[in-house]
Amino acid sequence: MRYLLIILSIIGLGLTVFPSFLVFVGVIEFELNIVLMTIGTVLWFVTAPFWINKEKTGKTA
């Protein structure tokens, strides 16, 4: 389960950042990038909290 969550989180981050490069090279439209970024953001925030703080000991400053 934990690995599945991590994989989904990584996909979320991927959707946040990679479509912008596709916009830059003209493969996708800017509007689609906005939608994919939003989906990536949701995916990241619904999966990452379940594993990320288990690894980190807490922000120090």
Partner: protein
């Protein structure tokens, strides 16, 4: 919470506040690289990056100036802060108490708290520019000082109140949430900038530099802004975290390092947050200026929303909120150390309200470059004092940790060094016109000279007095 406890928590780590960190709790490279990488991408980046554009930094000055300035910052962490942190393995606050006395440390805490309030206030304003988007709120402009509309005040107060209440009751949740948000946030910065490059005219990597010079960092300041040169960029980026490295606040973190070389791990933070994020935020603002015909309106929320949609607006809110929240919490603890009979929640509420009031004034955001420079400058002399006391005094026969050894609650040598350095820096600024961004360097040497002279005089006088008795 008692004063000592409160003061201890201000030093962040929550462990070994009044003792050296034992070997069993020391951490390796991975911990510090991860911590610094997540640490330096915050709400401030959404303001500083654009303000470089507004200040007319040229593309060359920014790209190379940030490279040099950030490198100097890393070297400051590595060669000034880390060796002292590893040598003493104490928090800044406890080390300062040994040198300056308990009462001096309380005074330092108060000033620190005030700085925290203004910083948090700026971040509440930043979040408000995103929260206000659905309400068609009129955004402030670069030259605004006072609140611009009733809606602005209402939104700022709503954000400020929410931030304060969370700081009072749910600090740990926000801290965990900040850990989650950090990697996503930097990717939003990068993605937003890359996606809008074609709108600025960048069609391939080949013409990026040409566009950067003509449409992004054009080298001419907007009306009412200080004109930035290469030197401004170098010194600003070096001293952005002056309170942390030269000012020694990061002793509290680096005391957990297995060896001093781990101070170099700060590079993971500054070259992500203070290089990539600043450049990316600058690109977003340049697009805004390009499309809005150089409008003086300044709204990080609108800028990010245009470039990254909902994710961008959320990023601005989260970045501002996760910076403001711990800052209000720490300011509350710092003030509570001075008012130990009042509960930490009440103090945090008071601090939060002062912060929110300050946030209503857009000048706090619009003058953030000056404020960041001032923040570092004010806390820097204490770093110089600690450096001399730990590294130099044992070599020249002066007594280190003088307040502890003489059981003083207030070491005048430290206090006068601090205040006199500030006064001389003010004189340099007012009489000789030295800009605030450059004062840190001469200020450090002035603080060192004053502290070493006063300590020599005070300790020699005390010795004579003891012999006479």
């Amino acid at each position: 919470m008692k004063a000592e406890e409160a003061q201890a928590v201000v030093s962040i780590s929550g462990e070994f506040e009044r003792e050296s960190v034992p070997a069993s709790h020391q951490k390796g490279w991975k911990s510090f690289l991860g911590m610094y990488a997540g640490e330096h991408t915050a709400g401030t980046e959404f303001v500083i990056g654009p303000l470089f554009v507004a200040a007319g930094a040229s593309a060359f000055d920014l790209v190379f100036g940030l490279l040099i300035g950030n490198l100097l910052a890393v070297l400051s962490w590595a060669f000034l802060t880390a060796p002292i942190a590893v040598k003493t393995r104490l928090t800044l606050y406890y080390q300062l108490e040994k040198i300056g006395g308990k009462n001096f440390t309380l005074a330092y805490n108060l000033v620190n708290a005030l700085m925290f309030c203004f910083l948090a206030g700026a971040m509440i304003s930043v979040s408000a520019t995103a929260v206000g988007i659905p309400f068609n709120m009129a955004m402030p402009s670069l030259t605004d000082v006072y609140p611009t509309s009733v809606t602005w005040v209402v939104v700022v107060f709503a954000v400020g109140l929410l931030t304060t209440v969370v700081a009072m009751y749910g600090y740990n949740i926000v801290s965990k949430f900040a850990n989650v948000a950090a990697p996503w946030m930097i990717l939003v910065f990068i993605a937003a900038a890359v996606a809008v490059l074609p709108d600025l005219g960048v069609t391939s990597l080949g013409n990026f530099w040409e566009v950067a010079e003509t449409r992004i960092w054009k080298g001419t300041a907007l009306p009412g802004q200080t004109q930035f040169t290469l030197w401004h960029v170098i010194f600003f980026s070096w001293f952005t975290n002056m309170a942390m490295h030269i000012g020694m606040a990061d002793m509290s973190i680096l005391r957990f390092a297995k060896k001093w070389q781990m101070g170099f791990s700060s590079a993971a933070g500054v070259f992500v947050g203070h290089y990539i994020a600043w450049l990316a935020a600058g690109v977003l603002y340049a697009l805004f200026l390009y499309e809005a015909a150089n409008s003086l309106e300044f709204s990080p929320g609108i800028i990010a929303f245009r470039a990254a949609g909902l994710a961008g607006a959320i990023c601005v809110i989260i970045a501002g909120w996760t910076t403001a929240n711990p800052t209000i919490y720490r300011a509350g603890l710092a003030v509570q150390a001075v008012m130990p009979k009042v509960s930490v929640r009440k103090v945090t509420f008071m601090v939060g309200m002062v912060t929110t009031l300050a946030a209503c004034f857009p000048a706090l955001v619009m003058r953030l470059l000056d404020f960041v420079a001032l923040y570092g400058l004010i806390l820097m002399p204490v770093g110089a004092v600690i450096f001399l006391d730990v590294q130099v005094f044992p070599k020249i026969g002066l007594t280190s940790n003088y307040a502890e050894k003489r059981r003083l609650r207030f070491n005048w040598a430290v206090a006068v060094a601090w205040i006199l350095t500030m006064a001389l820096c003010l004189a340099l600024n007012r009489i000789w016109g030295v800009e605030i961004f450059f004062l840190g360097l001469p200020g450090w040497f002035l603080a060192a000279l004053i502290y070493i002279s006063l300590s020599w005089a005070v300790q020699r006088s005390a010795q004579k007095h003891t012999v006479a008795i």
